[in-house]
Symmetry: C2
DNA sequence: TATACTAATGACTGTTCAGTCAGTTTGTCA
DNA sequence: TGACAAACTGACTGAACAGTCATTAGTATA
């Protein structure tokens, strides 16, 4: 297995059980069965490892949610999103635990900005979804709804993550959809009004440059083996340098790489760039 | 000023800004203008300081909420509680920030148990309140409602704590009351049903012993100066050793000490013991 | 087989920091 | 005034730990 991935997986386990502070690099390398030096071949520092872990998880979830919102056009979106989120929490329980336990805003400024960035994207996606589902009718309360939704997710995430039994994902999603629906149709006194909402969130997510994308493609090409994915990446790279295919083809190529774990984030960024 | 209090206040500031890990005992003592040795006269260890800070805050809020629920008998309770909670968050922004940033489950098992204890009390209090307001009608969804309420508080706490402008406490409370009311009247598909709810929460909050209470009274007596409070404490102590007054008198005595910051928790425990 | 190159090792270094303790100051009371 | 105690000081200690680097193992190429 890829050494970087090995280290990330094993350290997530340790972090989730003991916390970051109490997990030494030594311990991580011992648990991985590698030497301390090998660790520093993969990551420049312990902090970089932590950043990488958080990035990885946030990117997966962000790309997944975006995909659901983009491909669903019925009222079903909300259900799909909740289902996806809680399924991810369940599947990566260790990671989610780690994220919940150590909301390391404190670790460094870097992380704080990073998290704000993902939150902004999430807010924007939720907003798009709410507008799609409910149209104009919720205009006055849309920002308020976003905070309510995030709060609800948080509250129920606790149950999902810290309860070890099996959970009815369908029920939890259905139940939350009902709550949001009830709120959307009945709220008359939002705390976050239109003005304050727009003040809170300036939706300027800076666009990624073509060069950055190409270098990301190059990195991915080195890491993956599957031929279809490789070919798709090469073709996409060519298209970036010199546009030569129509939207449908590009869409298909992006779809080809969407489910490869190492390309999920890249596919999300590509899609946003093309649009 | 009391040295213990000085250390707590100053370190909360530092913790909120830099995180626990990056704040050394050295730095705390320098910021307080005392020596390192003096720190260890007040606290046995850095961990003990952290525990003390968290205990202090949780005890204040727990006692306050309990008081609201106990003394209000109209639908107003919900509003009062939200108002109280968010006012506390605002007033002790540093502390709340510190608590949100480092959900130190990880620090040690001690803290985890401690937090679970306060959560249990909060759950019980919320439950009592919901039953008082809505009666039998919400029986099927009461546990679900508790999680929804906690989630909403969490979501909106973020805004209150990390936004530096002034906030309309009345509006936020009103807005949340509306949300809970809407949910209480419309939810039909709870995620946490009656059975699972009772499974989650076993409401066995162990009772405190008479001896413990008396020793707590003794400690408080040493610390406070106000004569009314002192007299009340002495009388309450006598009553504990040999019951000699009726409920009304005891109630009044407890009320006398309720608003002294060093006695809030004691008054809460006394009230629970007497009942 | 020799050579060149990369991957991996783990003993070592420098630093940070919680906690200690021998000694000093301040306060109290006879 | 002096005896005694309580409060306070800060230089010091030892442990933990992130990060380095000289050396070795492994592998590809000529």
């Amino acid at each position: 297995m890829n050494k970087k991935q090995l280290i990330m997986e094993k350290s997530i386990e340790l972090f989730a059980n003991q916390g970051i502070k109490k997990t030494s690099v030594q311990q991580i390398t011992e648990y991985c069965g590698i030497s301390k030096g090998a660790f520093y071949l993969s990551f420049k520092s312990k902090d970089e490892l932590i950043l990488a872990i958080i990035d990885h998880f946030m990117q997966q979830i962000t790309a997944d949610i975006d995909h659901v919102v983009r491909t669903n056009h019925t009222k079903d979106i909300l259900y799909q999103i909740f289902h996806k989120i809680f399924k991810a929490f369940l599947q990566h329980r260790d990671l989610a635990k780690f994220l919940m336990i150590e909301q390391n805003h404190s670790l460094n400024k870097e992380l704080l900005t990073r998290m704000q960035y993902y939150h902004k994207i999430a807010d924007k996606t939720f907003l798009e979804m709410l507008e799609r589902i409910y149209g104009e009718s919720i205009n006055e309360i849309k920002y308020d709804l976003i905070y309510a939704i995030k709060g609800l997710i948080n509250g129920y995430a606790d149950i999902v993550i810290f309860n070890n039994g099996k959970l009815d994902l369908d029920l939890i999603a259905t139940s939350l959809v009902e709550k949001v629906d009830i709120l959307a149709k009945n709220i008359t006194t939002p705390f976050i009004t239109l003005e304050t909402g727009e003040m809170f969130q300036d939706f300027l997510i800076e666009e990624i440059s073509k060069e950055k994308l190409i270098s990301m493609i190059d990195t991915s090409l080195k890491e993956i083996e599957e031929s279809i994915e490789k070919e798709s990446l090469v073709t996409l790279k060519q298209h970036l340098i010199e546009p030569s295919y129509n939207r449908a083809i590009i869409n298909g190529l992006i779809e080809n790489i969407r489910n490869h774990p190492d390309c999920k984030w890249l596919s999300y960024l590509l899609r946003r760039y093309i649009r």
